[in-house]
């Protein structure tokens, strides 16, 4: 791992000195085991860049803060970050030529006690699908055999049990909107939550409002979710949000053919297109 860190620092110094990129987004040293995102402008600061098993945060969404950059932006991308950038490029939020992707094959991240993170256990693209530069050798993909196991378990419940389960989940939500703010697929100019004049979403916290927020958000990103698992990681009360997203992905795969968001930039999200021979249930 530290050999890759040296390579990364070397490559970052080179890019910055040659002026190919104006700044590089990576991970830096924070308090305890934290590796928060860091923005390196000067070549001599590259030693602040860190690459180890604690670099967890998804960097893709920071490109939205600098939508009209003067120079290129360098960004370290593991599998999930690279898919996040593809997501933003497909959503026309970021231009592909404005970013220089430094690919880093990732072997999965751990939390402070060294246990592998849920989102890395379920990760299906440890090698960045899209990159400009790649460091180190590709890692072998382990796939995710029980990707929809939890969803299938929930589907077996009766409708009252399902409603009971999801009401209990959303009763814990404190409406901090961290899931929306870290999600690369959640990149609307003005989110329905902030349209206070239209009044979609009340400000009061009760189970029903939380549920409406959770379901609407999940449905809005149904076919664009890249399964990076950030929403589940950052949720302070630990809501199983990926089970909502995975259900939608499972249905999309069964209805309109297998599809993985953010892997291939030319394949469009399924809800944005149609085929004449789609399944027909409404005759």
């Amino acid at each position: 791992m530290s050999q890759m860190q040296e390579e990364l620092r070397q490559k970052a110094k080179e890019l910055l000195e040659k002026g190919e990129v104006r700044y590089i987004i990576g991970w830096g040293k924070g308090r305890f085991h934290h590796r928060p995102p860091i923005f390196i402008y000067q070549a001599e600061d590259v030693d602040k860049l860190v690459w180890d098993e604690y670099c967890v945060a998804n960097l893709g969404k920071y490109l939205l803060d600098d939508k009209f950059p003067e120079g290129k932006i360098g960004i370290c991308v593991r599998g999930c970050d690279s898919r996040a950038v593809v997501r933003l490029v497909q959503d026309k939020q970021v231009k592909r030529e404005d970013v220089c992707l430094i690919g880093l094959p990732c072997t999965g991240k751990v939390d402070q006690e060294g246990r592998e993170l849920v989102k890395c256990r379920d990760c299906m693209h440890r090698n960045p699908p899209v990159y400009d530069i790649v460091l180190g050798e590709p890692v072998e993909e382990k796939g995710n055999p029980d990707r929809f196991k939890r969803v299938e378990e929930l589907e077996k419940l009766s409708s009252d049990e399902k409603y009971e389960y999801w009401s209990n989940v959303f009763d814990k939500c404190i409406r901090c909107y961290a899931c929306r703010n870290v999600c690369p697929a959640c990149n609307c100019r003005e989110c329905f939550v902030d349209q206070y004049r239209v009044g979609w979403q009340g400000k009061q916290k009760n189970c029903m409002q939380n549920q409406i927020f959770g379901l609407t958000r999940a449905y809005h990103i149904a076919d664009r979710c890249i399964e990076c698992g950030e929403c589940e990681r950052v949720c302070p009360v630990g809501l199983p949000l990926m089970e909502l997203n995975r259900k939608l992905i499972k249905d999309l795969n069964s209805l309109f053919g297998p599809y993985e968001a953010g892997v291939n930039p030319d394949v469009k999200p399924p809800l944005g297109e149609y085929r004449l021979e789609d399944p027909e249930e409404y005759m």
Binding site: S159, Y163, N206, I212, L252, P270
Partner: protein, 148 residues
């Protein structure tokens, strides 16, 4: 409200059903049904939309939130949509939405979609009658409903 309380049904309860009708086909079908004096239950409220694909999933969630018991999205048959491809998107979107609502505990019969063209006044009335029967049998919907 606990699940048992949700079960008892107030007597002579009438379901409220919201029907999103596409302006070019289904709304015309409803108009035709009216012209031919076809009777369909009055607790269906029709909401005219330019195309069935104008219906946003948020409208449906908000309908259940505000106390509607059943939602119907009706549009033109695939192929003769006034905007060429509107109902293809509708089809994809609401196939997914129905399964998603079912996954969250809402009975799928409470949310349905139909293709009803401008000439099928009979089909419009039958759909409304059938929908009303099903929802009446299901009882009032208390899931996702705003508690006063």
């Amino acid at each position: 409200m606990s699940l048992e309380e949700q079960k008892q049904v107030p007597e002579n309860w009438e379901p409220t059903i919201l029907a999103f009708c596409c302006n070019w086909c289904t709304y015309a079908g409803a108009d035709l049904a009216g012209l031919n004096r076809m009777k369909y239950p009055e607790n269906v409220r029709i909401l005219r939309v330019p195309c069935s694909s104008r219906v946003n999933p948020q409208f449906i969630l908000r309908a259940f939130q505000k106390g509607v018991d059943g939602v119907l999205v009706a549009g033109c048959h695939p192929g003769d949509c006034h905007y060429v491809s509107g109902n293809y998107f509708t089809r994809r979107r609401f196939l997914l939405m129905q399964r998603f609502l079912e996954y969250n505990g809402i009975d799928p019969r409470r949310f349905q979609a139909r293709w009803i063209s401008g000439a099928e006044a009979g089909k419009f009335r039958d759909t409304m009658l059938q929908l009303c029967e099903e929802i009446k049998e299901l009882g009032p919907n208390r899931k996702l409903r705003e508690v006063k």
